[in-house]
């Protein structure tokens, strides 16, 4: 039998006097209070985005349920298990939020969330999202083209690449310590890739602001590349002259290249990329080159050996 020392009891565990004196009333009100608590939590987690228009950059495929999109995440700062981020990111502070846009630009900027939301009209775009782990989803993102932001800051002639950096705070993301990756998470695109209208800066999904586990409040979505290129919770965007380092490439350069375009013909060294499992489907689908966006982006890579530039 365990006999606990009195010091094991903390004052925080003691029922407040007000509550125990009025315990009957408290019990009676509990269901209402619980309902209010759950309601307010849900309301606090995401809010509806106003003035969202439909976009022509949309695929006509069955959209993955929100429940799947919010409970199957790779967000290693919050843990490496797929369900970890949905549990561990709930209290992630996304306000206030500042994004620095700097480097080889004529007009560097520091934007708060409000400014980011108003930078360009919000569009809903239904994109395929293909993870390097050979699963995929279809997501109704809300956001605008990355090029809208880049045009605002006016890249100089020296700017050849765009480097992105995620927020990282050991206190809020203690699970990240064991992820085996260097944080803050960094990603990058070539400038012409970044200027392609498909490259999306997302602030929401399913018509509401982003849930924390999906990269709140502000993330990148590059639908023709493997999911890890679509960096989450961005705090810095830097235009640079040389190819910037990227997190997974630093971790395993022979497995994750800078480009990481979805390509069924080029296998990951450890598994095939020719097929994928769309979450919710039983049979596997064939993976499409550039994740089906070849018409819009294939020209970016003409003359390049995609086996070498994986």
């Amino acid at each position: 039998m365990i006999i606990r020392k009195p010091s094991d009891l903390r004052y925080s565990a003691v029922t407040p006097k007000q509550v125990y004196l009025n315990r009957r009333r408290f019990l009676g009100a509990a269901p209402i209070a619980l309902g209010a608590l759950l309601g307010s939590r849900a309301a606090q987690a995401t809010t509806k985005l106003a003035g969202v228009t439909k976009s022509s950059y949309t695929v006509d495929e069955k959209v993955t349920p929100l429940d799947v999109i919010t409970h199957y995440n790779n967000f290693y700062e919050f843990g490496t298990d797929k369900e970890d981020p949905s549990r561990n990111a709930q209290n992630f502070r996304t306000s206030p939020w500042m994004v620095k846009v700097e480097g080889e630009v004529a007009k560097p900027k520091v934007l708060d969330l409000d400014a980011l939301m108003k930078l360009a009209p919000l569009e809903e775009r239904i994109y395929r999202h293909r993870c390097v782990e050979a699963w995929s989803i279809v997501v109704p993102w809300v956001g605008y083209s990355l090029n809208a932001l880049l045009k605002e800051v006016e890249p100089t002639s020296k700017a050849k690449f765009v480097a992105f950096e995620s927020y990282y705070d050991r206190k809020q993301m203690p699970q990240g310590t064991w992820a085996g990756l260097q944080f803050p998470y960094v990603e990058g695109l070539r400038l012409d890739e970044a200027m392609n209208p498909l490259a999306l800066l997302a602030v929401g999904l399913y018509g509401e602001t982003l849930p924390p586990q999906d990269g709140a409040p502000f993330r990148l979505v590059v639908p023709w590349k493997y999911g890890f290129k679509s960096i989450k919770s961005i705090v810095k965007i830097r235009l640079v002259e040389k190819m910037p380092p990227t997190t997974w490439n630093l971790s395993a350069p022979q497995e994750y290249g800078f480009y990481s375009n979805v390509n069924p013909e080029v296998d990951h060294p450890r598994w095939s990329q020719s097929k994928e499992r769309r979450l919710g489907e039983f049979l596997k689908r064939n993976t499409l080159k550039f994740n089906g966006y070849g018409e819009q982006v294939a020209s970016l890579y003409t003359g390049m050996d995609l086996r070498k530039n994986y």
Binding site: D67, W178, A252, R270, W271, L279
Partner: protein, 227 residues
């Protein structure tokens, strides 16, 4: 303790306990709670339990000797067979739900992907052990040869752990933990082996007088005969 271990119901209880992971999986399947990617979940779950049962099986002999509980040996075969059972489930999940029983695709993967090569090695090493797990096979092979054959479990468990290590992307904590457990269990065996050899050598030098302990160290496995 000895009474509990030698009670015949203990084995039945352990048998049921070994089925708890499967029951848990079934329960989650029934509740449609196998995550957003059920096939991956089932694959990882059964794979995890295969490695765990291999390590539990490998732990039987060290525990038996350290705590002087010879009756523990009664459970070793069953635990090993459960490792094989979960291994079969794991293989069938992958083969059926990932490869859709396309054998040519399967062999392509086995040859091409080192983590699958390692996993298949682990499974194939378990196969002869499962087949020769009966008392009849011990008799047919003779105990010494049978025991030598069953040392394949060391390599099967290692291959299983390597298989897992090669699969993960960056968070290697669990595979490393399994490897550490495997290494500890193997170090124990190495220590016993070295100790035995030293004693044998000393005995030879001193003219081959059998010491009181030699019975225990040179035939360490009488208690591990299958029951």
């Amino acid at each position: 303790m000895k009474k509990v271990l030698s009670n015949r119901w203990t084995k039945v209880v352990l048998f049921v306990l070994c089925l708890v992971p499967l029951a848990w999986l079934g329960w989650r399947a029934y509740k449609q709670d196998l995550t957003a990617n059920p096939i991956e979940y089932i694959t990882h779950f059964t794979g995890d339990w295969t490695i765990r049962f291999l390590l539990i099986t490998l732990a039987v002999t060290p525990l038996r000797k350290l705590f002087n509980q010879p009756q523990l040996a009664r459970f070793r075969r069953m635990l090993g067979l459960f490792a094989f059972f979960y291994g079969c489930l794991h293989l069938m999940t992958w083969l059926g739900l990932d490869k859709f029983f396309d054998l040519s695709e399967m062999w392509k993967d086995v040859i091409k992907r080192r983590f699958i090569t390692a996993g298949m090695t682990a499974f194939l090493l378990m196969l002869p052990l499962a087949i020769t797990s009966t008392a009849g096979w011990v008799r047919r092979l003779g105990f010494v040869r049978w025991q030598r054959l069953h040392r394949l479990i060391y390599f099967s468990a290692l291959a299983g752990v390597v298989h897992y290590y090669w699969l993960v992307k960056s968070d290697i904590r669990l595979p490393l933990m399994y490897f550490a457990i495997w290494a500890v269990l193997m170090c124990y065996r190495a220590a016993v082996w070295l100790n035995t050899r030293r004693k044998v050598q000393r005995k030879e030098r001193s003219g081959g007088q059998p010491s009181g302990q030699s019975g225990r160290v040179t035939i360490p496995s009488t208690a591990s005969l299958p029951d």
